[in-house]
Every structure is written in structure tokens, then in C-alpha cells.
Symmetry: C2
């Protein structure tokens, strides 16, 4: 199975690519292919150093979509609309949104778009045949990249497409100690997306770093 | 310190009263004093059976407020406005809202009032001198009542009153293994309140019971 990461050279995309590429063919997308290739060279080195083989290739964002079965949109909320407007070919792909619409004031605030959540906005922007899921919303970039640390977190997954949800949950469960939980339909993805500003505030006010969540 | 529980004979209030009364003077309020007294008789028995002494007394909701330093509003969201309209004397009290505005459709949905959250609505309804905090939002009624089980959860606490928040966090930290986290000002309490419908959905879709949350 091929996983394409749009924005794969960003803070979160880079770590995701490294975590996923020992298990899946990962195509890292970027606006500039050179940057994507550089990220992959670095990623392969990091993994090789740890005795892991991987499948990690740098391409453009469009080529990452074209090649992939699952497309992860690893882009900050403010760039989602602009980026999606330049891309196509999402039909019949599983599209994963880890996007959290939030703003930093004195603290972090959940500021959803009119659709109610980033995932619902993305659903509206993409063709009907795109199979939208939200997942990975609450895993901090630093944690993705800290390859020597296990990721011991719960990951709520929302989707209206039961099979797509199942596939994404299986991907989640392959990574470190992540555990996927079915969190219901895409209409309630706002309750997942708002976790991230909450966790950032918890970190800030309690002098913690990269706070995650576990359901039990 | 005296803790008054408005709605103390309800599902959540009853368990809270039993958990708190070994450490604090707890006054259980109800619309009917008889019911509050019956709850306290039952609660004292449950605690005595486990070799615990307690201070647990049943009164009316108004008497619970009048007696207390900290008032917990253990009432479902749909009854909050109606109940508060019949009560007074909240000035200079710490008022704790564990209230979650949500509706059950096919799944649970966060449906905040116009103010943005139950805590903000309560703040608007009560006199300015009331010191509003939100806390205990995500602890399930069954867990409160299961006295032989430890409560091993994180509890985000929001307030604009730093001293009130500190006192409420200290109360949280006295109960079983609960751990209080400063989650910021009351303006972001919606991000805490929306956790509860998320957890109820997680329980439903993953065949779990009484799901709670831990930050780490």
C-alpha cells in the first residue's frame, strides 16, 4: 500500500514519513520536489542508522496524490484551502486529515471553519469520491520525529466511510504503540480537532511538553 | 472546608458525595431534603462498610449553597438554567461546573449554548462575585460510584480566578488517583466540555464502558 504525504517536508509530515516508511511505501510530497528528496535522504539515513529499511521517495504534492492509495494532508489549517486549490486527483483515494483549525492568542483556541471542522471543510472542497477520514490530530510534531521514543497514545479516527476508517485505523495501529479508536462519523470530527488546542494549553499551563492523550 | 453539591442525589452527585465526604464536609443538596437525607444514609453505609468515616449531610439545594465554600453543580445541562433560576447566594462561593451540553442523536454531539460553553452560560447567570470553575467534566457517573475502583484519570480545570482554580485543583487531587491539570481560562472550557460526548462515542463505537482520559 502506498501512502502519500502532502506537505511531507513540514514539521509533522517529516516525522510521519519516517514512522510510516518501514511499513508502507511512502511518497513524500512537497511544492518543491528537491525539498521532498532532501527530506527523504535525511529520513532514510535516520532509519538506516537504527537498522531499519524503508521505502521513502520524494516527489511533488501532486505526484504524491497520484501515486498513493492513502493521502495524508500534513498541512497547517491556514494553508489547507490554498494548497487543495492547486491539486487534483483525489477521487477514490482515502484522504486523511490530521488538521486542527486553531489560533494562538494568549493561549490556543479552537477556531473551526463554517463547516464545523477542518475535516468537513476538506470534504466540501474535494470531489465526492474522496474518502475522507480524520486521524493523527493530537500527535505532536516533536513526538513524530523522536524515533527513539515510543508513541504511546490513543488516536481517535472519524469517517463516514466504514472501509476507509478501518484501513486508516490499521495504519494507525502499525505505528509504535499508537492505538486507533473509532470516534464516529466525520460530523463529530470537531470534537477531535479541538483536543489539540486543549492539549497545547495543558502543556503550557502545567509546564509540560508535547502532551498527548490516552483513552482508558 | 465545606463542599455543597447541588443535584447531589443525581447519578453523578451521589458518587461525588461519597468520594469527597471522607476528606471534606459534604452537604448534599436536592429539591427535596428527604431525598438528600436518604442519599446520605446510603452513602454513609457504603463508606462505613469500607471502614471510612465521612461527613455527609442531606439538605435542600439552597441550604447546600448557603453552607458551602465550594458549590458543585451536579445537574444535567438541560436543567441548569431552570435550577439556577430558583437559587441564590452564590456570591463569593467557588462554583464548579462539571456540566456538558450535549445531545444524543445516533451518537453524542456537543451542542454548546450561545455563550460557547455550559461554564460560560453559568457564569452569565450567576452574580459577578461567583468564582466559576469547570472541572470533573469527563468522569462517568458509574466510576464515581464504584468506590472499590480507583479513579485513574486526568481532570482539566478551567477558571479565570487563579485562587479558585488552585483550590478546585487541590480538591481534585484528593480524590483517588485523579490528577488535576490547569486547562486555562473559562473561555476555553468548551474544549473540555466537548471531551465528554467524544468519550461517550469512543465507548460506543469501540465497545468499551465508561471511557476516561489521561494526559501524558
Amino acid at each position: 500500500m502506498k501512502i502519500g504525504i502532502v506537505g511531507g517536508t513540514g514539521d509533522i509530515g517529516e516525522g510521519m514519513a519516517m514512522r510510516l516508511s518501514p511499513f508502507y511505501d511512502v511518497v513524500v510530497g512537497s511544492r518543491e520536489q528537491d525539498k521532498a528528496e532532501a527530506t527523504c535522504i535525511m529520513g532514510r539515513e535516520q532509519l538506516l542508522k537504527r537498522g531499519k529499511t524503508c521505502s521513502l521517495n520524494g516527489v511533488t504534492n501532486q505526484a504524491a496524490i497520484d501515486a498513493a492509495d492513502i493521502v495524508i494532508l500534513a498541512i497547517p489549517f491556514k494553508h489547507v484551502a490554498g494548497t487543495l486549490a492547486t491539486l487534483h486527483g483525489f477521487e477514490n483515494k482515502i484522504v486523511v486529515s490530521p488538521v486542527n483549525p486553531m489560533e494562538k492568542q494568549d493561549h490556543f483556541v479552537f477556531v473551526p471553519p463554517n463547516e464545523g471542522s477542518a475535516a468537513l471543510m476538506i470534504q466540501k472542497m474535494l470531489p465526492k469520491e474522496a474518502r475522507i477520514c480524520s486521524a493523527f490530530n493530537t500527535i505532536a510534531a516533536n513526538k513524530w520525529k523522536a524515533l527513539d521514543e515510543e508513541l504511546d497514545y490513543s488516536v481517535p479516527v472519524c469517517s463516514d466511510d466504514a472501509d476507509a476508517k478501518k484501513e486508516v485505523m490499521a495504519v494507525v495501529n502499525r505505528i509504535s504503540h499508537l492505538k486507533a479508536f473509532d470516534a464516529g462519523p466525520l460530523s463529530v470530527s470537531s470534537m477531535v480537532e479541538s483536543l489539540t488546542p486543549l492539549l497545547l494549553n495543558i502543556a503550557r499551563y502545567n509546564k509540560m511538553r508535547d502532551v498527548g492523550i490516552r483513552f482508558h
